[in-house]
């Protein structure tokens, strides 16, 4: 009995070595997270992909596990990560689609929804990579999480040991746990989703608004693509004719390439009606104002996105009052009540 166990154990070690060797070959940067170290048994979690969404990237070394997701959620709501009493949830409220009805540094807080599909993050696209990469930035640079502090927490030391197999918590494991949680924050049950599934009807005005949104009439879909509502790309929409504020230069601040002046990453429009400030500097405070911008306020700057200027519509769409209301009515169908009340995303009992 004893010997066979030993053999089994030996085999397991060999298998682990092979797995390690294989995964090392695949990864360009060797993973420092080695679940193999842990004797704790993790429960795999299956992320259910909504129909017709683009493929989601999940790194080999951070496959979803129930326990790690839960740990990420604890961290998201815990001010232990910061040095000034804030938690991620202090600026990202679930009730508002994980943003706040205010601004921070003259900038609206970006929502947390379907983040796993992004390759570029922040209004100006200044962070790029995987969810793990942006979370590393959040903990290491933005919060500058004090590792001594979190390592002196008995609770987190134990949980990270069990779930990530580490004796000392680093920014890396914190980022991985946050990525685990935020990857599950998927909105797929707005009225628009239910309409697409044939489960609910839109009102006449919502339906007309959808037609404007998804046709050459409004031409929103080229950037705010079907289902996911963002193409994830950088665009200049003609918001400014001169870039008065430094932040208005957008992606230019990242690349220093003049053709990137005024370019911003297309924001996701899910739960857009729950926001209070729109665009990268929060210049608009209602959806009606946003629509009016697209309708008549487009500045024909030299690097404007080509699809923003059509003959006879150089400064906007020329919609009538009813059509503008219909467009707003459609944008409101993107509110996902299920997502903003889902208890698996809400504050855990510590």
């Amino acid at each position: 009995m004893r010997t066979s166990r030993k053999i089994l154990h030996g085999l397991a070690v060999v298998a682990t070595c092979i797995v390690l060797a294989v995964s090392c070959k695949k990864e360009s940067t060797p993973p420092t997270v080695t679940p193999q170290d842990t004797t704790y048994k993790l429960t795999p979690y299956e992320i259910v992909m909504p129909a017709h969404f683009p493929e989601m990237y999940i790194p080999e070394d951070n496959k979803p596990y129930v326990e790690r997701i839960e740990l990420g959620r604890m961290l998201y709501y815990d001010n232990i990560l910061s040095n000034d009493g804030r938690a991620c949830a202090s600026c990202h409220f679930q009730s508002h689609g994980f943003t706040i009805p205010g601004m921070v540094n003259d900038m609206p807080v970006l929502s947390h929804v379907n983040l796993a599909w992004h390759g570029k993050f922040m209004w100006d696209g200044s962070k790029s990579g995987t969810l793990e990469d942006v979370m590393l930035f959040e903990t290491q640079e933005f919060f500058a999480t004090n590792l001594e502090k979190i390592n002196s927490s008995e609770k987190y030391r134990k949980l990270f040991k069990q779930y990530f197999g580490v004796d000392y918590i680093t920014h890396h494991e914190i980022a991985y746990a946050l990525a685990q949680f935020t990857r599950t924050m998927i909105s797929k049950d707005s009225k628009y989703d239910r309409y697409m599934k044939g489960a609910e009807r839109l009102t006449y005005n919502e339906e007309m608004g959808m037609r404007i949104f998804f046709s050459e009439k409004g031409d929103c879909f080229h950037c705010h693509t079907a289902m996911i509502t963002t193409d994830g790309q950088m665009h200049n929409t003609g918001l400014d004719s001169v870039y008065t504020k430094e932040m208005d230069k957008g992606y230019y601040n990242v690349t220093k390439n003049t053709s990137d002046l005024g370019k911003f990453r297309t924001p996701n429009l899910r739960n857009v009606a729950l926001r209070k400030f729109y665009m990268h500097d929060g210049r608009f405070t209602t959806l009606e104002e946003v629509v009016e911008f697209y309708n008549s306020g487009v500045n024909r700057v030299s690097n404007i996105d080509p699809i923003m200027t059509k003959e006879g519509k150089e400064n906007g769409l020329n919609l009538n009052a009813v059509e503008k209301q219909q467009l707003v009515a459609f944008l409101k169908t993107l509110t996902d009540e299920t997502f903003i009340t889902d208890t698996s995303f809400s504050k855990p009992s510590f």
């Binding site: 994830g232 404007i304 080509p306 003959e311």
Partner: protein, 241 residues
Amino acid sequence: MKYVLTGVMLAAMAFTSCRKEKENVIPAPLTGNLAVNVDYHVDGKQLYFDSLIYTNAAGNQYSVTKVHYYLSRFRLYKEGSVKYASDTIIYVDAEKAMNFSFRNVPAMTYDSMSFHIGLDEAQNKSNSLPATAENVNMGWPDVMGGGYHFLKLEGHWLDSSKKLGYAMHIGNNGFLVRAGAKANIEVNGGKTANCKLMMNINEWFAHPNTYNLAADGVYSMGNAPLMKKLSENGGDVFGLE
């Protein structure tokens, strides 16, 4: 007992594989591979993105910021008959290097190639292609007929002195681009032959229809006469080297 079983299994495996080999005796490879590289130019000038330095047949000065499209239904011909067919669908973003290859291409010298820019009716349905980010971004909205964009060609141009945008988009069944090019492609058994598909951007604006951004319009999506012009012009945008 275990060893006996394993032995039997091994023997069985060896036996089956021997039989298989005997059945398809191939004296020498009768097929080779054909590697295709896709590249661009504007009437012989190198394509630089976002540079307002090109002039089309109608005299419009323009730049290119985006060229996204699908290639599908490849056929290789010899003396007028199809000798090789592939139904692979290839998404191309002209800003990225593009190489693909066909395998098991019968060894012979082909004199022409045909393919579609866009998708056949069977595939041109919303969500019929795998949901990659590229395919999703190529989606053609259901309210406009569904399916995918066959082509997105975008950039800026100078209208007298104003810089404006243009977006030449083609989609919808009936506007598929049937393209082709003469070639001299020699595929040898067991070897990989190479060829280069060269898109001349200016051909989208010429032959048989001279497309004038000032007179025809800058936005073709959902505009059947414009999509028809572009689709016809697309027939000879590619040359084969």
